[in-house]
Every structure is written in structure tokens, then in C-alpha cells.
């Protein structure tokens, strides 16, 4: 075997397991979900025989545009708030002394040691109409006695930001840590005020981290259903809730598949667009490697 062929063989050997994993656990299920959309429902909540376009038609439910819109704006708002909070955090952690930085990173990761579900329930207790936060705020007079902290879109936004913030901080910190902070001095030297230097030199300097943060916050946010289920009310459903409802309550798997496929396409198309733009600019795609 020539060295070139051997190299190709080695490459194939090394990449096969991960490719197989992706194929079996990602590509095949996605294709199945897309396919089930075109299947009829049988009487007992299973999947019937033959093919039909009924489900596709039923996706044009007049209630859906509002839910889709809510899902999109809540996810966008979550992403925006996370970025606004994560950029200064990442900057601060990257500029900290070694020991202090270890501490801060530990604190950022600490919430992951508790179950996600438990943490969301904790928020429910905190925000509850009879909960401590509500009483405290009402006592100070910041909110009226009838204001609801829970069961609305604001509560969802708050808990989503809380949940996804560490995922935004980590890639931004990773990029900030590699940032050459002498560039900020150079900007100051050239006449920039501190904020201007931060905005026109630091922020572009960590743009890869920012992009990664956007992806790892926005995409899971679009699909979230536990948070709106627990802290949201009947009028703050997201697509995730609808998928869950169609699957577990209505036993309409084709309809749930249709919604899932719609969500998948909604995520995939912008992502492909971003990647294409990146490729065009001759830059590497953002990757989670920056987090490690």
C-alpha cells in the first residue's frame, strides 16, 4: 500500500465510528420523523399504513402562528440577554488572576451538579404567588399584590436565561482567554475611550466565541419545553409544548413529527446559512472545541 492510500485508510478507520454514530442516532431518526409526517394515524394512537398529506395540511392550524412567533421571540430574547450578560462575564473571568479564575469557572459550572428539573422547580417555588420573592417585592412596593411572577412569558424568559447563561459564558470566556488584551491598550492609545475600545476591538476579537454562544443558546432555546411547561402558563406555550402534547396527550405521532420536522428545518436553515457565510469569509466553522 502506498503511504497516501494507507493514510486514507487510516482516516476512514478513524472517522467511521463517529460517522456511524451520527448516521444511526441522528440521520436515521430525523429521516424517520420526516417520514412519519406523511403517515396516517391509526385508531389506537399508533402509526397507520399507507401515506397521506393530511398531517401536513393540519399543520396550518390557526393557533400555530402565535405559538411559533412566541417561540422565536422568546429564543431570540434569551439569546440576546445571555450575550449581553455573558460578554462582560467572559471578559472579567479571562482577565482574572489564575486562582480567582478557577473559582469563577467552578461557580459557573456549579449549577450543572443539580438536576435541571430540580432547578426549574426551584424557580417555581421562588416565583410562586405565595413564594418569598413575591412577598418581598410586594412588601417593598416594587410590584402590586396581584402581579403574577409565574405562569407568563417573562417567567419563561427569566428561567431560560438562567438555564442557558453558562452555555453562553463558556465559549465567550474561551475566546476571551485567547484574546490579546494588549490590543485594548493599543486602542486606548489611539484615542478610544474604554467602552469604544471594548466594542470595536474586544467584541470583534471574540466573534467566534460569540457565534458559538448564539448557536448553543438559540437552538436549544427553540426546542425547550420543560421550562414553559413548568413556569409558563396556559397562554405561553412554545412549539416544544405542542410537540409534547401531540405525542403524549393526543397520541398523534404524525402531527408531532410534522411539528418536529418544522422545528428542525427552522434550526437547520439559519445554521447552514451562517456556516456558508463563514466559509465564504474563509474562516473555520465555530465549534465547541473553543469551549474545552
Amino acid at each position: 500500500m502506498t503511504p497516501a492510500r494507507r493514510a486514507r485508510w487510516t482516516e476512514a478507520l478513524v472517522t467511521t465510528p463517529s460517522l456511524a454514530w451520527l448516521l444511526v442516532f441522528f440521520v436515521v431518526p430525523t429521516v424517520i420523523i420526516f417520514a412519519i409526517t406523511f403517515k396516517p394515524v391509526d385508531l389506537y394512537g399508533g402509526i397507520g399504513k399507507g401515506w397521506t398529506l393530511d398531517t401536513l395540511k393540519s399543520l396550518f392550524n390557526p393557533n400555530y402562528p402565535a405559538i411559533v412567533w412566541r417561540t422565536v421571540w422568546l429564543s431570540l430574547a434569551t439569546t440576546a440577554v445571555c450575550l449581553i450578560l455573558a460578554v462582560p462575564c467572559g471578559y472579567y473571568v479571562a482577565r482574572s488572576s489564575d486562582r480567582w479564575r478557577q473559582m469563577l469557572l467552578l461557580l459557573i459550572i456549579l449549577p450543572f451538579w443539580t438536576s435541571f428539573l430540580v432547578r426549574v422547580f426551584a424557580w417555581k417555588v421562588l416565583l410562586h404567588p405565595e413564594g418569598p420573592l413575591k412577598h418581598a417585592l410586594a412588601a417593598v412596593g416594587l410590584i402590586g399584590p396581584d402581579t403574577l411572577l409565574l405562569y407568563n412569558e417573562k417567567a419563561i424568559l427569566l428561567v431560560m436565561v438562567y438555564t442557558f447563561l453558562p452555555f453562553a459564558i463558556l465559549p465567550i470566556y474561551a475566546a476571551a482567554e485567547k484574546f490579546d488584551f494588549r490590543l485594548l491598550e493599543a486602542a486606548r492609545d489611539l484615542g478610544a475611550r474604554p467602552l469604544r475600545a471594548f466594542w470595536s476591538v474586544f467584541v470583534p476579537g471574540i466573534r467566534r466565541g460569540l457565534l458559538t454562544a448564539v448557536l448553543v443558546v438559540f437552538i436549544p432555546a427553540l426546542g425547550s419545553y420543560v421550562i414553559p411547561d413548568i413556569v409558563g402558563g396556559p397562554n405561553s406555550e412554545m412549539i416544544g409544548n405542542k410537540i409534547a402534547q401531540r405525542t403524549f396527550s393526543d397520541r398523534n405521532l404524525p402531527h408531532a413529527s410534522g411539528l418536529s420536522a418544522f422545528l428542525t428545518l427552522g434550526v437547520l436553515l439559519p445554521l447552514l446559512l451562517v456556516l456558508a457565510l463563514q466559509r465564504k469569509k474563509g474562516e473555520e466553522a465555530p465549534s465547541m472545541q473553543e469551549v474545552s
Binding site: 486606548r188 492609545d189 484615542g191 470583534p204
Partner: protein, 391 residues
């Protein structure tokens, strides 16, 4: 001359380290001024205080008569060339150069015009739309210069700007820097640990050690008449001998004793008195070396020794001559007669001589004793061909 840029009793400490100890210094308008010293001597701290990145613990900095000590870096008409260049990687060469003017809010047309002018000055017109990471070291350097100069600073600060370049490029950039200084005519403050750079570029040099200024003067003054043993050892190479003044002779000469030498006559410009302990410093190129004893002449000193090492460098031959316990470095420039005679070589008996005007004495204090330990005569006379290496 005018007091363009003044440091007034500036002190700065980092923890226990004194980076600047009561430094007072005046730099003239249009001058090429160097801060020269070993790493950790405080030269970069002075530069950062001047740029506004550090604020002194005490003292003031005046620029054109105005106290700028408390001004933020962006409020000073001072720009810096950083050692790492610190070019913005996300901007092209032209955008890097335009950064300062854009922040200052110049009109677009003027920015374009000035950027073009700067690109032309540093000969990078054809690289204008490249990103910095595609440039060579010398090109990055020139972008950094253009990016600073476009703001028309009153003072340009250069922090070891050539340290990252290879030798050939460094020599070319030296000439370019000199030309640019002549062309723009603004004040340059240049920080370096390389005496060669400082000597060849500067109008005046401040030699620093341990946060203190040891001497300020023109390159020639600092080389020919160093005021402390640190300066003598740091600038160029020299041989040190411990001695004592025993007699004041007429015409500013003194007689001194140096152990192992016959009596030595030396020019005495430092007003030393009989009994003072001194270092006698003689630079290697000030010696003459010969097989025969030189004719006695007024103020000429001669000692006999044996050649311990020879390094032939073409333009120069370096000898290390053993006299008693000393290893004395003697640099002899090539002459066209060198081939004619039978050259002096290893183990030859030789005489080395020097004129009293070419050596100098430095008073020996207890503090200076410490310094001599750092730069003993042997260090200058390193036979491994690194004789020119700095202590």
C-alpha cells in the same frame, strides 16, 4: 533648550519592586531620546507612565508645559509602537491605520487621503487590503508606525520595536526609523535594552538600572565618559581594575596604584582625591598591542603580559592578554600591514599600552562594589568569541 517633555521626581513601585525611583528627566522637542537598560530596569514603566497606562505613585509628567500625569491614554497626544505591534487582527492594514482618525471623527475624505499618505510613507500601498496576519514582521512593524504617526502625536513612544525582528531586518528598520524621524520631525522616545540600537539612533540616551537613571548624555558622552561603573560595563565592553589614587599630577592627571601594574597615569575628570578608591576602566579598543616595549611617552602606560586567547574576526582581532591575575581584553582593528608582519599569536610575550586620556576612573563605593561583582573583568574577556555580549 526647551522643556518639552519633563518627568518630575517620578516614582512607581510594583509591590516591592521599585520600577522608577525618583526619576527626573527632560526631553527636548524633536529629539530622538532613548531609555536604555537591562530588562527590569524600569524603562518600560517610564514609557507606560508616559503613555498613560500606569500612573506614578508620586511625581508629575509635563508635556509642553501641561501636567498630563492624570490624563487617560486616549486624552494624550502621544502614540505608542508596541513591542508586539498590537495590530488589530480583524482589520485590514488600511483599516488599522484609519483606526485613530475614525475615533477622532475626521471626515471620510480626509481619512482616506491621510491613510494613503501614510501607506506611501511606509511603502505598504500594495498591502493596504491585507490582514495583518498575512504580513511579514517588518511590514507589521511599518503598519504599527503608520497607525501611530497618522494621529500626528506630539511624542511617539517606541517600546523595543525591533526586538521581534531578525538581525538583517533590524538593521534595515533602524535606518528606516531614522529616516522617518527626520521626515516627520516629532519627538521619539525609544525604549530598548540593545545599546547598538540606542547608540545608532539617539540624540541622547538615558541609561537606567534598578529604576534609577545612571546617566543621561549623547551616545559619545556615555561611551567615552561613563559616570558610573554600571554605565561603563553596560555600554560597550571594558576592562575594570581596582585601584587607588596616590598622587595628583599637573594637567588633570592622577597617578594611581593598581595591584600587579607599574604605576598608572590616568586622566582625572571626576575630581578624585588622593586616597580615593577607584575603578580604572579601559575599553578594549583603546589598547595598543606590540611585541616590543613601546617608547616611553608622557601619560602612556604599558604592561607586559602573555597572549592567552586570540580570535580573528577579519575587521578586528580580539586578544585576551594575561597580566598577573588579570585577563585583559584587547581589540585590535585590522590594518593593511597586518599581513606583512608575523602576527601576534597565542602564548606570545606582548606589551599592551594605552594613553592616560583613553582610560577613566570611577569612584568605588560600597554600592558600586556590588556592581563590579556583576561585571568582573573576566566577563568582558570571555574567550568564546562572545566578548561583545552584554553582561
Amino acid at each position: 533648550m526647551d522643556d518639552f517633555l519633563v518627568f518630575e521626581n517620578v516614582s512607581k513601585s510594583f509591590g516591592k519592586v521599585r520600577a522608577a525611583a525618583d526619576v527626573s528627566l527632560t526631553i527636548r522637542r524633536g529629539e530622538f531620546f532613548s531609555l536604555l537598560g537591562p530588562s527590569g530596569c524600569g524603562k518600560t514603566t517610564l514609557l507606560r507612565i508616559l503613555a498613560g497606562f500606569e500612573s506614578p505613585d508620586s511625581g508629575r509628567v509635563l508635556l509642553n508645559g501641561r501636567d498630563i500625569t492624570q490624563l487617560a491614554p486616549n486624552e494624550r497626544k502621544v502614540n505608542t509602537i508596541f513591542q508586539s505591534y498590537a495590530l488589530f487582527p480583524h482589520l485590514t492594514v488600511a483599516q488599522n491605520i484609519a483606526f485613530g482618525p475614525q475615533i477622532a471623527g475626521w471626515p471620510r475624505a480626509q481619512i482616506r487621503e491621510e491613510v494613503d499618505k501614510m501607506l506611501h510613507l511606509v511603502q505598504l500601498t500594495d498591502q493596504a487590503h491585507k490582514r495583518p496576519d498575512l504580513l511579514s514582521g517588518g511590514q507589521k512593524q511599518r503598519v504599527a508606525i503608520a497607525r501611530a504617526l497618522i494621529n500626528k502625536p506630539q511624542v511617539l513612544l517606541l517600546d523595543e520595536p525591533l526586538a521581534a525582528l531578525d538581525l538583517k531586518l533590524r538593521q534595515r528598520m533602524l535606518i528606516e526609523l531614522d529616516l522617518i524621524h527626520d521626515e516627520v520631525g516629532i519627538t521619539f522616545v525609544y525604549v530598548t535594552h540593545d545599546q547598538g540600537e540606542a547608540m545608532s539612533l539617539s540624540d541622547r540616551i538615558a541609561v537606567m538600572d534598578k529604576g534609577r537613571i545612571e546617566q543621561i548624555g549623547t551616545p559619545a558622552q556615555i561611551y567615552e565618559a561613563p559616570r558610573t561603573s554600571f554605565v561603563a560595563a553596560f555600554i560597550g565592553d571594558t576592562n575594570f581594575f581596582e585601584g587607588q589614587v596616590v598622587e595628583l599630577l599637573g594637567g588633570d592627571y592622577s597617578r594611581l596604584t593598581v595591584e600587579g601594574f607599574p604605576s598608572v597615569e590616568c586622566f582625572n575628570d571626576n575630581k578624585l582625591n588622593v586616597g580615593d578608591l577607584v575603578y580604572l576602566s579601559i575599553r578594549p579598543e583603546k589598547f595598543r598591542i606590540s611585541r616590543e616595549r613601546p617608547e616611553p611617552a608622557p601619560h602612556v602606560n604599558a604592561v607586559q603580559g602573555r597572549v592567552a586567547d586570540v580570535i580573528y574576526l577579519g575587521s578586528l582581532t580580539k586578544y585576551w592578554v594575561r597580566v598577573q591575575d588579570y585577563r585583559i581584553a584587547v581589540w585590535r582593528p585590522a590594518s593593511r600591514f597586518l599581513l606583512d608582519e608575523n602576527p601576534i599569536t597565542w602564548n606570545d610575550e606582548v606589551w599592551i599600552s594605552w594613553h592616560g586620556d583613553d582610560s577613566f576612573m570611577l569612584e568605588r563605593y560600597s554600592e558600586s562594589d556590588e556592581k563590579l561583582m556583576e561585571a568582573p573583568p573576566e566577563q568582558v574577556g570571555d574567550p568564546n568569541g562572545h566578548g561583545a555580549a552584554k553582561p
